[in-house]
């Protein structure tokens, strides 16, 4: 049996794997390595240095990037919180309300943003905001981010929710808890790993978004990805590589956290 499932038996397995890994990760490694380059060239190695990291925080472009980073964080945190709350309520309704009219439609609507090409959403959002005469830069970005973060927050939360039998709420209500208390004292704590996981995922998706942000942002309002893009248009400098590497590290930390929280939640559930 073991030999049947041994991946190495598939012809070309090793080659395909190496090609995929190189294509996926070589650019990231190049960027990360060259962010420590002492030279101003992005192709020639001039020795190891932290100069470009210093430049990010103190250089001529520092105020611009600082403001962009603050905007990104504010939007990501706010959007992730809002999307998580909405996704939590949605997953409770989808798994606890039994069968209701339009359940399938609701599910389709929740997951639609995952399927629709992002550029379509971006154009549609821009058209919508223009049509209602709403052009305040940060708020438009925030609203758009909340909307596209909902399905990403919904996925881990509803996965968690589906693994919680309604027996626990029944037991709570049998023990004199009102439906509200049963939700607050029993269901919510059990959902917490899924909720945290969903929050982190939404946060990282929002932090990372360029396309929709670029369409709906007002004049002069930048987030980190749009600021980077703006800067790159005037030629790539190694300070961009330093910023990208910092963002990569933040992303990896958050995604790992999300995964770890999801895993411990599952372990606990399997034990009981």
């Amino acid at each position: 049996m073991a030999s049947k499932t041994d991946l190495r038996r598939f012809p070309g397995f090793l080659t395909v794997t190496i090609v995929c890994l190189v294509v996926l990760y070589a650019p990231l490694i190049v960027v990360a390595v060259y962010s420590f380059n002492a030279s101003t060239s992005i192709t020639k190695w001039g020795g190891t240095s932290l100069a470009w990291y210093v430049d990010v925080f103190t250089g001529p472009e520092a105020p611009k990037f600082q403001q962009a980073a603050i905007n990104s964080l504010v939007i990501a945190i706010t959007a992730a919180i809002a999307a998580t709350i909405i996704a939590t309520l949605a997953s409770v309704a989808m798994t606890r309300a039994g069968r209701f009219r339009g359940k399938t439609l609701s599910f389709a609507l929740i997951s639609l943003p995952l399927m629709v090409p992002e550029v379509v959403t971006a154009v549609a959002s821009l058209v919508f905001f223009t049509a209602i005469g709403f052009t305040s830069g940060l708020t438009t970005i925030l609203i758009a981010h909340i909307v596209f973060c909902i399905p990403f927050a919904y996925l881990p939360i509803s996965a968690r929710m589906q693994s919680i039998p309604d027996l626990y709420e029944q037991a709570a209500m049998d023990l004199y808890a009102t439906p509200r208390e049963a939700f607050k004292l029993v269901l919510l704590p059990l959902m917490t790993p899924g909720i945290l996981s969903g929050f982190l995922l939404a946060f990282i998706i929002s932090l990372d978004d360029f396309l929709i942000t670029n369409f709906v942002k007002g004049a002069g309002v930048e987030t980190l990805p749009t600021a980077i893009f703006g800067s790159v248009k005037q030629g790539i400098k190694p300070n961009i590589m330093a910023i990208s590497t910092l963002m990569l590290i933040v992303s990896v930390i958050f995604v790992s956290l999300s995964w770890l929280i999801g895993r411990t939640g599952q372990d606990k559930n399997q034990k009981t």
């Binding site: 039998p165 027996l167 626990y168 029944q170 037991a171 709570a172 209500m173 049998d174 023990l175 004199y176 808890a177 009102t178 439906p179 208390e181 049963a182 004292l185 029993v186 704590p189 059990l190 606990k268 559930n269 034990k271 009981t272």
Partner: protein, 357 residues
């Protein structure tokens, strides 16, 4: 039974799920301080009835009264009854103490009173040292006790138990049976126990309601149910029995005269039979004695012997090919006939039960 002694009164309860009827007008009364068992195969409606008492199912019609008060329309959290769930449903994120205190804190106990009562109940189920543990750190048997403690702690008017022993292994199950019974005596409240295990029902209950197809077939004390089943279902479901097709010739003074397969005449209490006709005679395997061929009520050939430890089970076949089982006690004086030998079977008159077709 005066109404003051009745803990739960169920009157004509009907439960429909779409076109399926789970309960066909069930009526029964459970007394204070009674260990009452709802017994039946899966799908008989016993769990639906229990969940209707707890408030998890809305009944389609009928009335459920708790100590004389109509609770039919109340939501679960307003009914002073607690449930021990089949899968225990302990809150995994809370300690044992927090689990036990949950019900008390929701129903207006003070924190100190609740903590004191939690200690007391945990001592009662012999889990005094486990208060700070999480449910995942307990064995199945311990979790079951916590579930019991949690349900008993707020002093419910009635305790509902939904097959709470089915997840335990056999040895533990037998020990917990005895404990459950003494716990019920100690607390003095009515227990309503749901099970499909007839042995569990017979050993613990004061009274048993045997259910099938959403109807109560018979209510009675364990000996009544076992020795005087009212119909074929009850006779067959509770314990082992032999059901013989018989012709009833006449009924008079409560005694029926009938002929057994093979032509021998037999007289026994008429029970539900009112006149001549086809009937079924239920005879428990342990209520049949062996004798010489021709000397008993039936003649049979031994087709197999099964050694069961305390008993020896004898499979026999009558002349008309009907199979029967006989149980012989395993003792030195018991003579076990060889396979293929012809034997006579003597039925105990008082133990044979005549059932209508």
């Amino acid at each position: 039974m005066t109404s003051a002694e009745i803990a739960v009164d169920i009157e004509n309860v009907v439960k429909r799920y779409g076109s399926f009827t789970a309960l066909h007008g069930v009526s029964l009364s459970i007394c204070e301080n009674e260990f009452f068992t709802l017994l039946g195969p899966s799908g008989c409606g016993k769990t639906t009835l229990l969940r209707s008492i707890a408030g998890f199912e809305e009944v389609s019609s009928g009335t459920i009264r708790l100590k004389g008060e109509d609770i039919t329309g109340l939501p679960p959290h307003k009914r002073p009854v607690n449930t021990v769930f089949q899968q225990y449903a302990l809150f995994p994120h809370m300690t044992v103490t927090d689990n036990v205190m949950f019900g008390m804190l929701r129903s207006g106990w003070s924190k100190t009173d609740a903590a004191q009562r939690a200690n007391q109940v945990l001592e009662m189920v012999q889990l005094g040292g486990f208060a700070a543990r999480k449910p995942a750190q307990l064995s199945g048997g311990q979790q079951q006790r916590v579930a019991l403690a949690r349900a008993l702690a707020p002093r419910p008017a009635v305790l509902l138990l939904d097959e709470p022993l089915s997840a335990l292994d056999l040895k533990l199950r037998q020990a917990v049976r005895v404990e459950l019974k003494s716990l019920q005596r100690e607390t003095g409240i009515a227990f309503i126990f749901v099970t499909h295990d007839q042995e569990e029902a017979l050993t613990m209950s004061d009274r048993i309601a045997v259910m099938s197809n959403g109807e109560v077939q018979q209510i009675g004390a364990p000996p009544d149910i076992y020795e005087s089943p009212v119909n074929r279902f009850v006779a067959d479901f509770i314990g082992e029995t032999n059901l013989l097709d018989v012709d009833v010739h006449s009924v008079s003074d409560g005694m029926a005269t009938l002929s057994l397969p093979g032509g021998h005449g037999f007289t026994c209490p008429a029970a539900a039979m009112r006149g001549a006709g086809k009937g079924h005679l239920s005879v428990r395997p342990e209520r049949i004695a062996l004798c010489a061929e021709g000397a008993g009520d039936l003649d049979a050939t031994v087709t197999g012997r099964v050694y069961l430890g305390t008993d020896i089970q004898l499979h026999v076949r009558l002349a008309d090919d009907e199979a029967m089982t006989v149980r012989l006690q395993n003792s030195e004086t018991t003579i076990v006939p060889e396979e293929g030998s012809a034997v006579g079977l003597k039925l105990e008159v008082g133990a044979a039960r005549l059932l209508a077709d």
